[in-house]
């Protein structure tokens, strides 16, 4: 017997994501899902961002990693409330994992929740975590062809960071090509050129977060 149907295979993840979003809405917390390749500078960006905004927008961090608690240790060192999720080989975070991590946080004291996804340019794009905004990050050393190679990371992003911009000259990176490739995928997201080495572009990034906070 054959039946035809329309059943969303990811409905359980999407339902959990909606629940997370409602929970965060109730607490007036803006959830920011940060996606990039491994090593683009997600943790470094948060090490700068969380203290810079601490007085006006208290933040916590949920950090996903395949193994180790190193990123969580780095973030705890700067005084950010941090919850580590070890995905044990999983290439992305799921909404259910984030739900568990939310249980460990006192949401009422927060205005911002950063979710550092597992470093991967393909898989995290397919899984809603219940975030309000998504950040796609590309760092200059990865090469100026990466936007075109990973369209599903950049097309749905709410903001795009071209990070480690301090290295642009040393690496002969064709910045115009990166901007042209982004313009084909996503003209809705603002694009900031950032560096945690020189602090370039960080004020633009902070201002963008301020405008998004409820």
């Amino acid at each position: 017997m054959k039946i035809n149907l329309v059943k969303n295979v990811l409905e359980a993840n999407e339902a959990a994501a909606e629940q997370n979003r409602r929970r965060l809405d109730d607490a007036c917390v803006l959830a920011v899902n940060i996606t990039s390749a491994p090593g683009s500078g997600k943790t470094s960006l948060l090490e700068a961002t969380v203290p810079a905004l601490a007085d006006e927008l208290p933040a916590a961090v949920i950090v996903g990693d395949l193994q180790t608690t190193r990123d969580a240790e780095r973030l705890a060192a700067i005084g950010a409330a941090t919850t580590q999720i070890n995905t044990e080989g999983g290439c992305h975070l799921s909404a259910a994992q984030v739900a568990k991590a939310l249980d460990t946080l006192d949401l009422t004291s927060l205005r911002l929740l950063f979710i550092e996804n597992v470093g991967n340019m393909v898989c995290p794009a397919a899984f809603d975590l219940g975030e309000h905004v998504r950040v796609a990050m590309l760092s200059v050393p990865e090469g100026d062809d990466k936007v075109a190679k990973y369209p599903t990371l950049f097309q749905p992003a709410d903001v795009i960071l071209i990070h480690k911009i301090d290295l642009v000259d040393a690496l002969d990176c064709d910045l115009a090509r990166i901007h042209a490739d982004i313009a084909k995928l996503n003209t809705r997201a603002p694009v900031f050129e950032t560096s945690t080495k020189t602090a370039a572009g960080l004020d633009q990034w902070y201002n963008w977060l301020r405008t998004k906070c409820p």
Binding site: V6, V9, A12, A126, T152, L185, N186, R188
Partner: protein, 122 residues
Amino acid sequence: MHEMSIAIPLVEQLQALAAEHNAARVEALTVAAGVMRQVVPEALVVAFEVAAAETCAAGASLTVESVPLAARCRQCGRQFEPSIDSFVCDRCNQADVEIIDGNDIVLTSVTFQQADDEDQPG
């Protein structure tokens, strides 16, 4: 990659559907995968074999169909079919779209073997 995160809930759904239809086994199924989800069909088939082992869906034949993109321009409302590498609306030259198809992974057909099929001759 993320194909295992698709195969696991897929098998759970098949188990629920088999119970609902009083079926002993799943023989075949079709999944329509939107191109935005970047599913590699061969990888999904392998992940499905692993996830389905020792369930009523073990050995079922999985067909993966690809669903192309359809989008609506948020600036001018035009509907069009972008390619994965360009979402630019050629009326207003902006890449600011709402994806209306090609964004989901959907189970579209299941073939069951009924619980009593096994006993029937021929």
